[in-house]
Symmetry: C2
Subunit: 137 residues, 2 copies
Amino acid sequence: MKELEKQLQEKQIKPTAMRLVVLDYLLKQTSAVSLTDMEVSLKKTDRVTLYRTVKTFEEHGLVHRVEDGTGVTKFALCQPDCTANGHHDLHIHFYCTNCKETHCLPRTHIPEIMLPDGYDRQEINLLVKGLCAACKK
Amino acid sequence: MKELEKQLQEKQIKPTAMRLVVLDYLLKQTSAVSLTDMEVSLKKTDRVTLYRTVKTFEEHGLVHRVEDGTGVTKFALCQPDCTANGHHDLHIHFYCTNCKETHCLPRTHIPEIMLPDGYDRQEINLLVKGLCAACKK
DNA sequence: GCAACGCATGCAATCGTAGTGCATTATTTC
DNA sequence: GAAATAATGCACTACGATTGCATGCGTTGC
Ligand SMILES: [Mn+2]
Ligand SMILES: [Mn+2]
Ligand SMILES: [Zn+2]
Ligand SMILES: [Zn+2]
């Protein structure tokens, strides 16, 4: 349990009981989760508290939000090099149209994009939809 | 006006009064629009009718939806080669963090993505956020 | 022309998620 | 331990998406 506390403190997040539960839950996930997912899995937790917990996590560079085109925001743990000053784990997200799961693909790099003249890039979101490895078989 | 009717019929969409109004409006836009945008601009139109109109357009390959991370779905006219069997105008979308407009960049091609083994790509959504040419100055 | 049919439209209502306000509770500081 | 500060829980609001249903309207067969 001390391990979880340390992970929070490294990101300057005070380790409350609720936050430890949420972090523990996030560490066990293999795909990005919505607030509703969390609410269902972690019984007895208030949705708004979860909302503010992941918001805090996001602001401190512990989780990033994933936009997978379903309309509901999902969250996943960041790679280690994210901080409160910004998220640096630029990677692809994959949405499986069969199992509806959304995966981070941190190994898959985003290629350089040539924008038209005058456009100034600040951020890139690359979402690939299709069948995940488990569903393809 | 016959021109508009023809455009609908080419996509197998029956040209009703409402649909002509919506298509005319979409042709005049320089950025993707939300249902609320349409509702405000086209007075006296019912939101649900607009919803179903663009849905019909989308199903027939006349418009495509644009997910720009704002949480609200936007729509824009397709390139000519989209049909009811699928949208084929794979291109980048650009969201300007200053003016909040979302542009299709149909000239900017999406580079090839190498996915991990087992993943099967069906669709790609590439969203770039930053400053548009007008706002950068 | 007219009746019957099917699709399009408009209105009301529901649903689901995001977000805010505020009182209560826990934690830190002195 | 008391005061100050931060986190939590509950109530409620906001808003876009979506459905159900009644009505309107154009097309077709007669
Ligand atoms: Mn990710
Ligand atoms: Mn587009
Ligand atoms: Zn899958
Ligand atoms: Zn702009």
